[in-house]
């Protein structure tokens, strides 16, 4: 595995938590984002994720650098899956270790917010009666917004 990666196979969160663990770490937070069956009353059959892979991995690594600057002492590993995902599959994993728990929670939540803002990954929802590429209609990544 790589510390920041896009994968097209099922994500094993344990690999990422083990990657960030070290003897000075007292806290590890692992966030996993899963395919949800129902969104706003519409039933999802499955999702399809697509990415601009090299740029997405570069942006994940940049987010990791931002986290290490903001919360010194954290260690981070992140992955996003692409391709077709079924209900409950893991789309994204964020593992953060820290000497103390506060930073592990804060940095982890920061990471998912940033991923949703700047990492070039796109989700298509496939329902019983249609499909659509999902994208926030108001918030765009800005150069230098870090």
């Amino acid at each position: 595995m790589k510390q920041f990666e896009l994968v097209d196979t099922p994500i094993d969160p344990q690999k990422y938590s083990e990657f960030v663990l070290h003897p000075a770490a007292g806290a590890v937070t692992v966030f996993t984002g899963h395919v949800r069956e129902w969104t706003h009353g519409v039933r999802t059959l499955y999702l399809s994720y697509e990415a601009y892979i090299p740029m997405a991995e570069k942006k994940l690594a940049e987010i990791g650098e931002e986290m290490e600057e903001k919360w010194p002492g954290v260690r981070v590993a992140m992955a996003h899956r692409i391709g077709e995902l079924k209900i409950s599959d893991i789309a994204v994993v964020i593992a953060v270790s820290s000497p103390h728990r506060k930073a592990a929670y804060e940095a982890n939540e920061y990471a998912i917010e940033r991923i949703k803002e700047v990492v070039p990954i796109w989700k298509k929802e496939i329902w019983e009666d249609g499909e659509e590429w999902i994208g926030a209609q108001k918030k765009y990544p800005e150069k230098g917004s870090r």
Binding site: K116, G135, A136
Partner: protein, 77 residues
């Protein structure tokens, strides 16, 4: 020549994942205008352009050899 990549909705709209253009140098804004004209419904007002895997401003100039990508609103996570 520059390379341009299309993803997600734009890949489906254009029917291609990438193509080569012989238009450099040009600005990001000019590239977006070209795309909107060439592919009606492109929606350039909601799309960012990455040049060599970094988000670019509208006034940035794209040089021959650059690799560009149209980035519609992202929805990872």
């Amino acid at each position: 020549m520059i390379t341009v990549h299309y993803f997600a909705r734009l890949r489906e709209l254009t029917g291609k994942g990438e193509e080569s253009l012989d238009r450099a140098p040009l600005t990001v804004e000019e590239l977006l205008d070209w795309a909107e004209t060439t592919y009606p419904g492109f929606g350039k007002d909601t799309i960012h352009v990455a040049v060599n895997e970094e988000y670019a401003r509208k006034e940035d100039v794209i040089q021959a050899g650059d690799v560009c990508a149209f980035i519609p609103p992202v929805s990872g996570g």
